[in-house]
């Protein structure tokens, strides 16, 4: 064994504690309810090659995609690897320096979808282990810390920046990797440009400052660790940490029966053409290696359901991470034994300038569903039936006239649903599943902040699939608008049921209804609608799939 099993455990705690402390700083200092109340953010630390060493358990969809942000920052700014397109960029030609913070949200260069803004801070340490005479004097790059937060608005054609668009330019401001902070100084010009392109600039500024603060804290802690243990030792244990997670995943894979397992699932549509969108996966397990091949999935779509490669990677990462079990560091070691094939130009690896707002929140869920469906063939006792398979993105925007001075508002929320049943338990109801775990906005917080009124917030009983074990039920959330408003829906599983397993029934699909007086008007799963004062938007989210054939027991009816 090439590591000390004791120090391994000690360092595991230290690395994880850094990522968690960053999260605590970000949450407390941020502005958006998205970040504070809903906790839609992630923090992680990386080695000098950009390999993720630890990520705090925040949001699964950020798992595989954070490393690509750091990679994009390195590609752009590390002069040693400078690519030719950097030659005209003075920022890039100077490389990375202490006090820099790189910001980005470009899904085609390290981002996922535009509201997720990632800040990457390189961490420099003094050279150690060298006699003073041999020290170069310049601090050396040791690693990176990064924070990603879902900002409530980054511009684009609808408030909340989750539109059903046709190209990415409609989705909001695109930030390629830029130095938002350069050698400790805010790049005011870049910041001004950014803030001029969003609907709620003050809030953005507060959130960006919170992210910078979180990164500063993370960098400080990493430097303290290097001071305590030395450069070489911390570096060695970063490596050890990756090996450790890799061993865990290898062990998992070698316990699965070798073979090829396939599954197909569908998105309802892309919000523009009324066609189901195929997600196809073939998992090949051979010894302690696996290939996850999405070949045959639908080509990239006109509408915003396109996932960039980072999203697909995150979804694969999430599934295998769950199979390992609890309390294993979330790091790059997880994907070493797994090859992910996602052909370019498909819905699971979309190319510029495809719209991608929904790839992160919706397609990621279907990728998980497809992969779980395939793995259910080899590990039926460990795989749940399909969960609601959507995040039910609802954005309502308008003008708040409740006070003397009218002000624009944008309310964004995702709504939980049913979780799929397992071979030995019912799926929980009314809960966020798989790729997200954000909190709701309390009705009482929402009504203070926006001219809206929540009329119902209840379990959608009977929506879970039946079976020996029942799928969890969805949610019904009815929101009344008090003034004129615009609603944007980005929802899935309105047509395609969440599947049951092993004879269990599928969950009931979701519904979006506009209640206007006595009328109930069905709304599409994806799209934008104008609301009149008094209109009620009723979102009914899907139930989870059931597991196993069988009668429902009486006790299961009481949920």
């Amino acid at each position: 064994m090439n590591h000390d099993p004791i120090r391994l455990e000690v360092f595991k705690h230290r690395f994880a504690a850094i990522a968690e402390e960053m999260g605590a700083v970000l949450r407390k200092a941020s502005y958006s309810p998205n970040i504070k109340e809903r906790r839609d953010y992630s923090c992680a630390l990386f080695d000098d090659q950009g390999r993720m060493i630890a990520q705090a358990a925040h949001i699964p969809v950020h798992l595989g995609s954070m490393p690509l942000s750091v990679e994009a920052a390195i590609q752009k700014f590390n002069t040693f690897r400078a690519s030719t397109d950097n030659l005209d960029d003075p920022q890039a030609s100077q490389g990375l320096a202490p006090g820099d913070v790189i910001a980005l949200n470009d899904p085609f260069r390290g981002g996922t979808h535009l509201p997720d803004i990632t800040l990457v801070t390189p961490v420099f340490v003094e050279n150690d282990g060298l006699p003073t005479s041999q020290r170069s004097g310049a601090p050396a790059l040791f690693g990176f810390v990064a924070s990603r937060a879902h900002h409530a608005d980054v511009g684009g054609i609808t408030p909340g920046s989750m539109p059903v668009a046709r190209e990415i330019y409609q989705e909001g401001i695109i930030i390629p990797p830029i130095k938002l902070v350069e050698a400790g100084e805010i790049n005011q010009a870049a910041l001004n440009l950014l803030l001029a392109n969003v609907r709620t600039p003050e809030e953005r500024l507060g959130d960006l400052r919170a992210q910078i603060g979180a990164n500063q804290r993370g960098a400080l802690r990493l430097r303290e660790m290097v001071e305590e243990y030395g450069h070489a030792e911390v570096g060695r244990y970063m490596e050890t940490m990756l090996d450790y997670t890799e061993r865990m995943i290898c062990r998992l894979l070698s316990n699965l029966t070798d073979g090829e397992y396939t599954f197909s699932d569908y998105m309802d549509n892309d919000g523009i053409d009324d066609q189901p969108v195929l997600i196809k996966v073939k998992v090949k397990i051979a010894g302690d290696r696996a290939i996850v091949d999405f070949g045959g999935s639908a080509p990239q779509q006109k509408g915003s359901v396109n996932a960039v490669y980072a999203i697909t990677l995150s979804a694969v990462y999430y599934v295998f991470r769950c199979l390992i079990g609890l309390d294993v560091p979330n790091n790059a070691g997880c994907l070493v034994p797994i090859e992910v094939i996602a052909p370019e130009g498909t819905v699971v690896n979309a190319l510029h300038p495809a719209p991608v707002a929904g790839g992160n929140v919706e397609t990621s869920q279907r990728i998980v569903d497809a992969l779980l469906g395939a793995l259910a063939n080899v590990a039926p006792e460990r795989i749940p039936a399909a969960s609601q398979g959507t995040m039910n993105n609802v954005t309502i925007g308008g003008i708040d006239h409740r006070e003397e001075e009218p002000r624009p508002y944008a309310y964004y929320e995702t709504i939980g649903g049913g979780m799929g049943a397992l071979h030995n338990q019912d799926g929980p109801s009314a809960i966020h599943t798989h790729m997200t775990n954000t909190l709701n906005t309390p009705a009482e917080a929402l009504e203070y902040a926006y001219p809206l009124r929540v009329l119902r917030y209840e379990v959608r009983r009977g929506s879970g699939g039946e079976g020996q074990h029942r799928g969890g039920d969805g949610i019904r959330r009815d929101i009344q608008v008090l003034g004129k408003a615009q609603v944007t829906l980005l929802t899935e599983r309105r047509e395609q049921n969440p599947y049951g397993l092993n004879g269990g029934q599928p969950g009931i699909p979701g519904e979006n209804i506009l209640i206007r007086g006595e009328d109930e008007i069905p709304l599409p799963g994806k799209g934008t609608a104008d609301l009149r004062p008094g209109d009620i938007l009723s979102i009914r989210t899907p139930g989870g799939g059931g597991y196993g054939e069988g009668q429902i027991q009486a006790k299961d009816l009481v949920k």
Partner: protein
């Protein structure tokens, strides 16, 4: 906290009682001598009052021997796990909920998040009140308190009649009801009407505007539901105690002369007249009557007692007694540390037990949180902020699938206990981490017939716990079993049993260091400014190592380390917290805010008067929860004339930036009403010589990371004030064992605290 003289009856025997899972602890302070006496009895979970009454009888026997003519006058402060256990074991009252139409599932939906991210089987705790017991009424109040849908009387009557006619699915009738309507904190009228009718109909009713008049419906519903669920249980328990004891009525504390003798049924307690206060989780006590209506306030009273005790000990040692020789008095530097540059005490409390460790921070006052969760149920009233982790003396060591040595969170508990206890192995409970095969990765599930190595086993093997002198020799330990268990793990790792034991200690310490960091460094505090106060049975062997890791200069171990929560209850003030969500704009005048605070302050004053607190002993702390408009997280600041500037400044300090022109919202008003109770005046003892050799009992080999050394062992009970010990050394007491490392120096102060100065060794 400055204690002032009070007419809170002096001269009475003060008794702190804490019911724990294994033992019920008693701490008795006799003001006539200034001495403290402690003892423990096995808890009686089937009837917790049994152990309490047995202990009180013992105290009575002791004191009546002194003067058989007099009626004994006692002041009891009692903390119990009765409410906690009812919640954790889900043995609370049959409870219903009445809420606004459309919102009966708030309790089930929670905040929509799942407890574990990477676990397909993750499932939240089922709601305390099942769906069929959650009723809705048509009514609505908006965020400004305006009624938009009036509540018809008929709706209330219908709900109540439903509760009175249980359906077939219910085994027993409803006896407790939580009433939670949307925005009731802005206008409680509808809630009040329902609550009044419920009470008139004989139900125990908990109204959310009384329990927690704050916005965020889920947290308010959960807190109110917990109250409704546990209050009847605590009420029953307290009635039992009352029947056996003659308790004074609320308010009787004002008089120090009893007017009539006691006449309780318990013969040994007939000569006793007692006043009883119940310990709360906010660090203060309340009357029995208040506790039985507001049991949610008493959920974590035990740990709170420990924190209050820490503060009390800190204050005690800060005021040097005249008899303390110069070398034992605090140096100016120490005083600065203890007093936090004149602002108050700075301590990290560290309570390591068998299965878990609690840590907290005192920065002149204990820190408060409103984000506590017990058994998966949020409790949003102000509680002492205590961080608990699953690492203790009984934590089990094992190797995971990735080849890392792990310690905890599974614990061997008291049964079977650590390997060295020599008890028969029983199957361990569920809730273990699963490995790559989806099985529990714990070795016990692969092989059932050998005992598990724990942190205690590692300490025994390293020679740090003398096997023949554990719990005062009452329980022999088998060091060969500890060695066998550790050797088994070591073989798999290629390490010797001793190396493995050192590793187990290092990892357990890493867990606890992380908890201490979360509590201090993560909140912007520098541990170098703090004293580590260690209590609980297992902490003494780890405290000095942790202090060195965190660069904490001093460790303090109380002589009452194993009954510390009960000890702390002796020093608890009467504390009541009041809150009100207001959502006022920051441009509100300080007069307006003052006016809005006035009713809360008045209620605090009235309630304390009812508790028998005299006006001059009342302190009212007014504070505001504020934020920039658009934020959703508030900062709590004392209310002052210039509250706006205070907020900008606090925001800058806490988050590194402020927005001088930014619009501010005043979210909640808070009043904390403190009824000061004089702390027991423990008599300092005369300082003896520095020579501790009279207490030295042995010389034994102990393993350290840099090798084995023969070091002196001292009997703690024989140490005298003034004694000094230079590390390395071990102090053995009946209740705990304390490690003093090389280059650390320990001394015993006038209150018998062992104070370890951490040396500079890296």
């Amino acid at each position: 906290m400055q204690k002032v003289p009070s007419t809170f009856p002096e001269g009475r025997l003060r008794i702190g009682i804490d019911i724990g899972g294994t033992f019920t602890d008693f701490v008795v302070f006799d003001p006539s001598s200034g001495h403290i006496h402690t003892f423990k009895l096995p808890s009686t979970p089937h009837d917790p009052a049994e152990a309490v009454l047995l202990g009180l009888s013992r105290i009575s026997e002791r004191s009546t021997g002194r003067d058989s003519q007099a009626i004994d006058l006692w002041n009891i402060t009692h903390g119990s796990t009765v409410a906690t256990n009812a919640l954790l074991e889900r043995k609370g009252a049959r409870t219903a909920l009445i809420t606004t139409r459309g919102f009966k599932d708030v309790l089930q939906i929670r905040r929509q998040n799942r407890p574990e991210l990477y676990d397909f089987a993750s499932s939240p705790a089922p709601p305390l009140i099942p769906a069929e017991m959650r009723l809705e009424v048509d009514e609505r109040v908006d965020h400004r308190g305006k009624v938009t849908t009036a509540l018809e009387e008929e709706q209330i009557d219908q709900a109540i009649s439903k509760l009175q006619s249980p359906t077939a699915s219910q085994q027993s009738p409803v006896d407790s009801v939580a009433v939670v309507l949307l925005f009731s904190f802005a206008n409680p009228e509808h809630e009040q009407r329902i609550t009044e009718k419920l009470r008139a109909a004989g139900f125990f009713a908990s109204a959310s505007h009384e329990i927690l008049p704050e916005y965020r419906e889920y947290e308010r519903t959960s807190t109110t539901a917990v109250n409704a669920y546990v209050s009847p249980v605590l009420d029953r328990y307290l009635s039992q105690l009352e029947n056996a004891l003659t308790l004074e009525k609320e308010g009787d504390l004002r008089t120090s002369n009893p007017e009539h003798p006691a006449s309780g049924p318990s013969t040994s307690l007939t000569g006793v007249r007692a006043s009883m206060q119940i310990m709360q989780s906010n660090g203060g006590s309340i009357s029995v009557g208040e506790a039985r209506r507001n049991a949610v306030r008493c959920i974590l009273s035990g740990p709170a007692g420990g924190v209050v005790g820490s503060q009390y000990v800190g204050e005690l040692v800060m005021s040097p007694s005249p008899s303390t020789p110069a070398e034992l008095r605090a140096s100016p530097e120490e005083e600065r540390r203890l007093s936090g540059q004149g602002t108050g005490l700075r301590m990290l409390t560290f309570d390591m037990g068998g299965t878990s460790t609690d840590v907290s921070l005192i920065d002149s006052q204990p820190q408060i949180t409103t984000e506590a969760e017990v058994g998966g149920h949020p409790i949003a009233i102000p509680l002492l902020d205590i961080h608990a982790i699953g690492a203790g003396g009984g934590s089990i060591a094992y190797i995971d699938a990735g080849g890392a040595l792990r310690v905890g969170p599974e614990s061997a508990g008291a049964d079977p206990g650590p390997a060295c206890y020599g008890k028969t192995m029983k199957e361990l409970s569920s809730g273990m981490p699963r490995d790559g095969e989806g099985r529990n990765s714990h070795p016990s599930l692969h092989v059932h017939n050998y005992p598990q190595a724990t942190v205690t086993d590692a300490n025994v093997l390293l020679g740090r716990i003398p096997p023949d002198d554990f719990l005062g020799g009452a329980m022999p330990l088998y060091s060969e079993l500890a060695e066998k268990a550790l050797k088994r793990i070591g073989e798999e790792l290629g390490l010797s049993a001793t190396e493995t034991a050192l590793g187990v200690i290092e990892i357990a310490n890493a867990h606890m260091e992380r908890a201490l960091r979360v509590t201090s460094v993560e909140r912007g505090y520098d541990p170098r400014d703090f004293t580590l106060l260690s209590f609980g049975g297992a902490g003494g062997l780890h405290a000095a190592d942790l202090a060195r890791k965190l660069r904490i200069p001093e460790v303090l171990i109380s002589p009452y380390a194993s009954t510390f929560s009960a000890f702390g209850m002796l020093a608890a003030d009467v504390i009541k917290d009041y809150t009100q969500t207001v959502m006022l704009p920051g441009r509100s005048s300080s007069e307006e805010i003052s006016d809005r605070l006035a009713p809360l302050a008045q209620k605090g004053r009235d309630d304390l008067h009812k508790e028998g607190i005299l006006e001059e002993n009342i302190i009212l702390q007014r504070s505001l929860d504020m934020r920039y408009r658009g934020q959703s997280y508030e900062l709590n600041l004392p209310f002052a004339e210039d509250f706006i500037n205070d907020f900008h400044q606090a925001h800058r300090q806490t988050y590194g930036y402020d927005r001088p022109g930014g619009e501010i919202e005043i979210v909640n008003l808070r009043v904390r009403a403190v009824g000061q109770v004089p702390s027991p005046q423990i008599a300092p003892q005369a300082i003896q010589s520095a020579d501790a050799s009279a207490a030295q009992i042995d010389y034994r080999p102990v393993v350290f990371t840099d090798g084995t050394r023969e070091i002196p062992f001292y009997r703690g009970e024989m140490l005298q004030p003034g004694n000094q010990i230079t590390g390395p050394a071990i102090v053995v007491r009946d209740d705990t064992t304390i490690l003093i490392n090389q280059s650390d120096r320990a001394s015993v102060d006038a209150y018998l605290n062992l104070r370890i100065k951490i040396g500079n060794q890296k």
